[in-house]
């Protein structure tokens, strides 16, 4: 059964890049009437462009901030003047970083008359058979990739969750490996320092005091490692972000709260890992360890 009746909005888009105020930026050509109907959740500082306007523009929040663009301003894009009617309030999506302009103007600017990069189709109904609509669109538009937004969102969320899970499990493996290394290293240290432990016990250190000596050593080393690790991580991340050009300008990565939390966490983990070796150290008999020297 044809489902054409369910299709409420068809919003074509052409994506191009252009220099705005000397900076390469993404420009999205839209049909204002369709776009504004589709993006009913948009909020704007200023006003929305008139549906029939040919040279009105809307600017995403972060792009407006980085270029210093305000509503009412006229900007030049590839030789064409556009009047910025409004600046979108942050949406948390890609819309924040682009300039929206009339589709025809962008097609002319990009030299792609009557072309679109993609079409957004909205089916305004409850319980629509989205998969069937996608199927019928694929049949009607052979050679075109048709995807339900939900599928796209699910696909993106899957990618995001996969990356998060991967990062979590890699971190977990690194943490477990680090703890195992601390345990091995501390056990080795206990073996090497049996004489020292024997001396401590001989001069009156209790078993709990010996335990405290080793755990406090691990705590101190762990705190130092956490501190240096956090600082080194900040420097490395800043360098990597800068070299990949993923951000605009310097990024503030350092946070005192994160530093303290990292230091405390690593110190705590090191102390926890040192508990077993420290317990072994506390069992060292002074007479045996001193006689063995």
């Amino acid at each position: 059964m044809p489902l054409r009746a369910n299709v409420a909005i068809i919003a074509p888009k052409l994506i191009a890049t252009a220099k705005i105020h000397g900076k390469a930026s993404a420009v999205v050509g839209v049909d204002w009437q369709e776009e504004l109907a589709l993006k009913g959740y948009w909020e704007v500082h200023g006003e929305f462009p008139s549906p029939t306007a040919t040279h009105d523009a809307l600017v995403g929040a972060s792009l407006a901030q980085s270029l210093g663009i305000a509503p009412g301003q006229t900007i030049q894009v590839q030789g064409q003047d556009f009047t910025v009617r409004g600046v979108l309030l942050p949406t948390g999506s890609d819309d924040d970083a682009v300039l929206f302009a009339p589709l025809a103007a962008v097609q002319t600017m990009a030299g792609k008359q009557d072309q679109a990069t993609f079409l957004e189709v909205a089916a305004l109904c409850s319980g629509c058979p989205i998969e069937d609509i996608v199927l019928q669109l694929q049949e009607a538009l052979p050679g075109t990739e048709v995807k339900a937004l939900r599928q796209v969102a699910e696909s993106r969320m899957y990618a995001v969750h996969f990356a998060q899970d991967l990062a979590f499990y890699v971190s977990l493996v690194i943490l477990v490996t680090a703890l195992a290394m601390i345990i091995m290293s501390m056990l080795s240290s206990v073996n090497e320092r049996k004489k020292e432990i024997g001396i401590m016990r001989a001069v009156g250190f209790s078993r709990s005091s010996v335990f405290a000596v080793f755990v406090s050593e691990a705590l101190g080393i762990g705190a130092l490692a956490g501190l240096l690790g956090y600082v080194a991580g900040c420097f490395l991340a800043t360098y990597v972000l800068a070299s990949l050009h993923l951000t605009e300008g310097p990024v503030q990565l350092f946070s005192l709260q994160h530093l303290l939390a990292t230091t405390a966490l690593v110190a705590g983990a090191a102390a926890l890992a040192a508990a077993f070796p420290a317990w072994k150290a506390s069992l060292v008999e002074p007479a045996d360890s001193l006689a063995a020297v």
């Binding site: 001396i199 009156g204 209790s206 000596v213 006689a291």
Partner: protein, 234 residues
């Protein structure tokens, strides 16, 4: 805890000890009394049990059977916490190999018994350690590390560490064993000087000459006491 009214300062009663895997006991039914302020030497060949007897008297090693009394209290039956307290406050140990911590200065080594785990020492404790270093003739060497000191000086630091908390009994296991004769003589003089100051000294030695300088000399063989000799003037 068991108390006796007219007890010697330290007393070993029927003490036996066998190390795991050993065929013969290293101590067998040993009885010994040590009086307050005495200088006692324990003499014997290697393996005769003299060091084990010393470690048993000082509570470093617990006997398999028998009792060790300290002023009438059986220290084998007190809690470990109390034995730790005895080792840090009443007993003092000196070993043949000095056993100083190489990364600590002479003063820090002497302060070790005060640290008790987390390293905090008071001004009074620091002063006591400095006084003890001066008492053993090491004033000016407080900040020297063991590696820069001679064998005799290292042994003096070990003695200062042992006595810094005002111990009443000094257990010395071959204190001159790793020293030349001149330095050994000096250490013996120091031990006699400390004994005159009221410290009870129980010393294990291979050297009959040094052992004869004690007020009493106990000879051990195969885990048993086979002879007790008193100094001529005793």
């Amino acid at each position: 805890m068991q108390k006796t009214h007219t007890s010697p300062f330290i007393q070993a009663v029927q003490v036996s000890k066998r190390y795991p895997g050993a065929v013969k006991p290293v101590l067998e039914d040993v009885n010994l009394q040590v009086q307050r302020g005495e200088f006692l030497a324990i003499l014997g060949r290697s393996g005769s049990g003299k060091s084990t007897l010393l470690n048993t008297l000082s509570s470093l090693v617990l006997p398999d059977s028998g009792s060790i009394y300290m002023e009438g209290t059986d220290i084998c039956k007190v809690k470990e916490k109390e034995r730790n307290r005895l080792r840090s406050h009443t007993f003092a140990m000196v070993f043949q190999q000095h056993h100083l911590l190489p990364y600590l200065t002479a003063l820090e080594n002497v302060l070790l018994p005060f640290m008790g785990g987390l390293g905090h020492v008071t001004k009074a404790q620091r002063q006591a350690a400095l006084d003890m270093l001066e008492n053993v003739g090491l004033q000016g060497k407080e900040n020297s590390r063991p590696g820069t000191l001679s064998g005799g000086e290292q042994q003096r630091v070990a003695i200062a560490r042992a006595l810094a908390r005002g111990a009443k009994v000094l257990f010395a296991d071959e204190p001159t064993g790793s020293l030349d004769s001149v330095t050994g003589d000096a250490i013996m003089q120091l031990l006699h000087s400390l004994n005159k100051q009221g410290v009870t000294v129980i010393m294990v030695s291979h050297n009959p000459e040094y052992a004869r300088q004690a007020q009493r000399m106990v000879t051990m063989q195969d885990g048993r006491i086979v002879g007790i000799a008193h100094a001529p003037n005793e």
